[in-house]
């Protein structure tokens, strides 16, 4: 079985309203020196697949079709054997 962590964040070129507010909140709590905050989501999957190459293809397709919106979001993922 494979464990997958998919990270979805807004593209660098897209203003991230949630990231901006979090940055401001951190600063007001005294955490100075935070240059940038980008907010995102994590999707955890467990796949019955064994073949990592095959899994990669499948996860790519999942991200493109549903999990991320390619107009505004980037994604990356990590695969771990369990």
């Amino acid at each position: 079985m494979l464990k997958v962590e998919i990270y979805i964040t807004l593209k660098k070129t897209v203003v991230d309203p949630q990231g901006l507010v979090i940055k401001h909140a951190l600063e007001s709590l005294g955490f100075l020196g935070v240059e940038e905050v980008r907010y995102g989501k994590i999707v955890n999957l467990r796949l019955s697949l064994k073949d990592e190459k095959k899994a990669e293809k499948e996860i790519e397709a999942m991200c493109k079709k549903l999990l991320a919106n390619p107009i505004i979001e980037d994604y990356r993922f990590k695969i771990k054997k369990i």
């Binding site: 807004l10 897209v14 309203p17 919106n69 107009i71």
Partner: protein, 229 residues
């Protein structure tokens, strides 16, 4: 003519839309369940507002894969009139009938209040009873209405006159102070290139009778009716 109002799990403006076109406008109207596929006989499909599938993942991201959407995309590709209001607009973006995407409102608030909208294009089936520059009063009620599109995309929208409504003040002035949610170029409503699919964040169905504080929204529905006559 016949209007069809689609109900997704989590739609909550379906009855208001139904009321506006059936009872206020007086046209034949039917509900369409999201799991149906047959939309033969309809002249205009309304995708109402709400929180389809709980807005999980992204607003509209799950609803775009419902069975009815396949038929609606085909219907639109053949020139059928489709109007997506609020969550309906978000679904039209996700399914790719309209360009762009929605981000959370700039101030991260759910904003529910009246807005003023300047009509930028009245050469559409949805606004031809309005004048260019006319200011309409309609409420918004959303958390993700911060319209985003690439700069190339924005240029295409402008060149093709696809921008239909923009957030303004009561006099029609448009600047950042009249932008409630951070939407690019104050965009509140756009059409596709062919002009037969319209998405807007404001709610015409909630402003279709004087008792609601404005009847300007009725101009949208009566434009559709007159267009189809």
């Amino acid at each position: 003519m016949r209007f069809g109002v689609v109900i997704f799990p989590g739609s909550n403006c379906d009855q208001d839309c139904f009321w506006a076109v059936k009872d206020v406008l007086g046209e034949k109207t039917k509900y369409i369940w999201h799991d149906d596929t047959d939309i033969r006989g309809f002249d205009c499909i309304i995708l109402p507002g709400g929180f389809s599938y709980g807005d999980y993942l992204r607003p509209g991201a799950i609803a775009r894969f419902s069975r009815i959407m396949k038929s609606i995309v085909e219907f639109a590709k053949k020139g059928g009139l489709v109007i997506g209001i609020c969550n309906g607009f978000q679904i039209l973006l996700e399914v790719g009938l309209l360009p762009g995407a929605m981000l959370p409102n700039k101030n991260l608030h759910f904003i529910c209040r009246d807005t003023y909208l300047k009509v930028e294009n009245n050469q559409t089936p949805f606004t031809h009873l309005c004048d260019v520059g006319q200011v309409l009063k309609m409420p918004i009620a959303h958390h993700e209405g911060n319209f985003y599109i690439t700069s190339d995309g924005l240029k295409r929208l402008r060149d093709n006159r696809q921008i239909v409504l923009r957030y303004s003040d009561i006099s029609g002035l448009i600047d950042s102070s009249t932008n409630p949610n951070g939407a690019m170029d104050n965009i509140a409503g756009i059409v596709n290139e062919q002009g037969n699919a319209f998405g807007l964040m404001p709610h015409p169905e909630r402003s279709s009778e004087k008792i609601l504080g404005s009847s300007d929204g009725l101009l949208i529905f009566s434009s559709i009716r007159e267009w189809l006559k």
